[in-house]
């Protein structure tokens, strides 16, 4: 029954994909619209519409995107100068920034969240700051970061750090604060030290909530890195997209969009997997 459901869902997914690609292919095929006649408008000249006759709308057909994707993925790590690096290198830069910023945030947010969660006093004292700092768009920090840090790469990492810290901090504090009193009493009646209680009772009890916070954080970090790299430039998938837009290479842009989705999915799936390891049924 379940496998049957899975099978039908897969078929339906594939049908949707085929329909989508078909519509896309038809919409961008040169035959659909009459070939353009006469003078090119100023816009068309600027957009290169006069020279590129392969596509009527300027948007590449799926076949073009796939053949481009194939050639990019067959040599993902080439490096031919600052403006011409393989997609693998660009993604690696972005992943490196995300993981570094995320790890630094986790290093601070989880212990701090633990302390905040265990102390009602700190919980109340920190709350107004967290509530005000949390909704700030991480990119709003960028100018300040650039001015203080004076390094665009580190500033991008800082932006990732600042956007990943809040969900982890809030979730850790919440998870720790809502550990069942029964379990804390078990620790007390067994004369566990504070440290042992933290590691053998509170941490496993709060781990699923903490991991959920980490999962939210890495999702946000991956959303933010593209925008941050568009601003700071140089390397990374965000910069790559912006660069290809400047080159009017929309096939590369679409290819990069798909790659961003795939990497984001993999990051999320790996944390979902980690969450499974610490989850417990109550």
């Amino acid at each position: 029954m379940l496998s049957n459901l899975n099978f039908r869902a897969t078929v339906l997914s594939l049908v949707m994909l085929v329909v989508f690609l078909g519509v896309w292919q038809l919409a961008t095929a040169p035959e659909v619209l009459a070939p353009q006649q006469g003078e090119l408008s100023e816009y068309e000249q600027l957009m290169g519409g006069g020279t590129d006759r392969s596509s009527s709308s300027g948007i590449p057909a799926p076949t073009q995107v796939f053949s481009h994707a194939f050639s990019e993925l067959s040599n993902p790590f080439y490096d031919a100068g600052p403006n011409d690096k393989g997609i693998g290198i660009q993604l690696a830069y972005s992943i490196y920034r995300v993981l570094l910023g995320f790890a630094l945030a986790a290093l601070i947010a989880i212990p701090l969240g633990f302390v905040i969660g265990m102390s009602p006093l700190l919980n109340k004292a920190f709350d107004p700051y967290i509530q005000i700092l949390k909704p700030i768009s991480p990119l709003a920090w960028m100018p300040l970061a650039l001015f203080v840090i004076r390094d665009s790469n580190i500033s991008a990492i800082f932006v990732i750090f600042i956007c990943s810290i809040w969900p982890m901090l809030v979730n850790t504090a919440y998870g720790v604060a809502s550990v069942r009193n029964d379990w804390l009493n078990v620790a007390r009646t067994h004369e566990l030290s504070k440290v042992r209680t933290a590691f053998t009772v509170i941490l496993p009890a709060a781990a699923p909530t903490i991991l959920t916070g980490m999962r939210i954080s890495i999702g946000i970090a991956w959303l933010v890195i593209v925008a941050a790299e568009m601003l700071v430039g140089g390397t990374g998938i965000g910069y790559y997209i912006w660069n290809e837009w400047n080159n009017l290479d929309l096939a590369s842009v679409i290819f990069a969009i798909i790659m961003i989705g795939i990497v984001g999915f993999l990051l999320d799936a790996s944390l979902a997997q980690a969450t499974k390891l610490v989850r417990y049924a109550d």
């Binding site: 069942r180 029964d182 379990w183 009493n185 078990v186 007390r188 009646t189 067994h190 004369e191 566990l192 053998t200 009772v201 496993p204 009890a205 610490v278 417990y280 049924a281 109550d282």
Partner: protein
């Protein structure tokens, strides 16, 4: 009065009330001794402070007045000398049954090797009949099995005093009966001192050497200490054939139906007069009423 193993001296608990400056007295003047190896049950209506007394004995709550001395040492906080079995099992859900017991064993004897801890834990799990389910997580166990793990965990640390707060309250009647007999079996092997709260009169008669009866709150007191004069080993199936069973049962039920309330009213009058609330429970043996030191205000109903 001879010094007992566990001495509860003039224990009182008062809580501030939300819209009054007066304190609300839950119970007061609770004064009793428990001997080593004794099985004592405490019965009373909801809200009379039974659980608070148990929490004080566990060291999880601090009384407003009075103190508790166990083995010549005052109880000041929770410790491994007092094992607790809560109503809602309170097992750690991320650990298997065996690991839950080993967790406690490790806290008790930190220097034991892992193999020794494991062997010790498995011995107690076998005593409660869980040999086949030691690797299961609490979520994979039935309610009765979880409570058994809780019992194994509490007995495994070999505490000086075992505290149980309505341990079988959440179980169905059949399971309860089975576990009660298992509890009796372990208790007869280990001779723990047990203090247990229950709502169930039959459970108290089956298990206890002595049943403490508590009046209703506020100003609740432990009014009587009823001796359960039925020889051991006791069996659930044949308990009602014992001559002493019905006199004891009637006495306990009478108390719960009328006595608790009437005596509570008296206690409140006394409190209003400002009498010293310190009160040692009247010792009573329903099986041999002629031996009782003073006649009670209520008659024991004939069988």
């Amino acid at each position: 009065m001879s010094k007992g193993f566990l001495e509860i001296e003039n224990l009182s608990q008062r809580f501030p009330q939300p819209d009054s400056n007066d304190l609300m007295t839950v119970f007061e003047g609770v004064d009793l001794n428990i001997e080593k190896g004794e099985f004592v049950c405490l019965i009373g209506h909801s809200g009379c402070g039974k659980s608070t007394i148990l929490n004080v004995l566990a060291g999880l709550a601090t009384p407003t007045d009075g103190n508790v001395i166990m083995d010549n040492k005052e109880i000041k906080g929770p410790s491994l000398d007092q094992g607790v079995i809560f109503q809602n099992h309170s097992l750690l859900p991320w650990l298997s049954a065996r690991d839950n017991v080993m967790f406690a064993v490790r806290a008790r004897w930190p220097h034991w090797s892992k193999a020794k801890r494991r062997e010790h834990a498995e011995r107690y799990l076998k005593m409660v009949g869980l040999d086949h389910a030691m690797d299961r997580k609490p979520s994979q166990l039935s309610g009765g099995m979880r409570q058994r793990v809780g019992i194994a965990r509490a007995f495994a640390i070999e505490p000086k005093l075992l505290l149980m707060d309505e341990p079988f309250g959440a179980l169905d009647a059949l399971t309860r009966g089975v576990i009660q007999e298992e509890l009796l079996k372990i208790w007869s092997e280990t001779h723990q001192t047990v203090f247990m709260i229950t709502h169930d009169v039959d459970e108290a008669i089956l298990l206890a050497d002595r049943v403490l009866l508590m009046t209703n709150g506020p100003h609740a007191q432990v009014a009587e200490s009823v001796k359960i004069d039925i020889p051991r080993p006791r069996k659930r199936a044949t308990l009602h054939q014992e001559a002493a069973y019905y006199p004891i049962r009637n006495h306990l039920v009478d108390f719960l139906v009328d006595g608790a309330k009437a005596m509570s009213a008296k206690a409140q009058e006394a409190a209003a007069r400002g009498d010293d609330p310190r009160h040692r429970p009247r010792i009573f043996n329903p099986a041999q009423p002629e031996t009782n030191p003073e006649p009670g205000p209520r008659m024991v109903r004939a069988v």
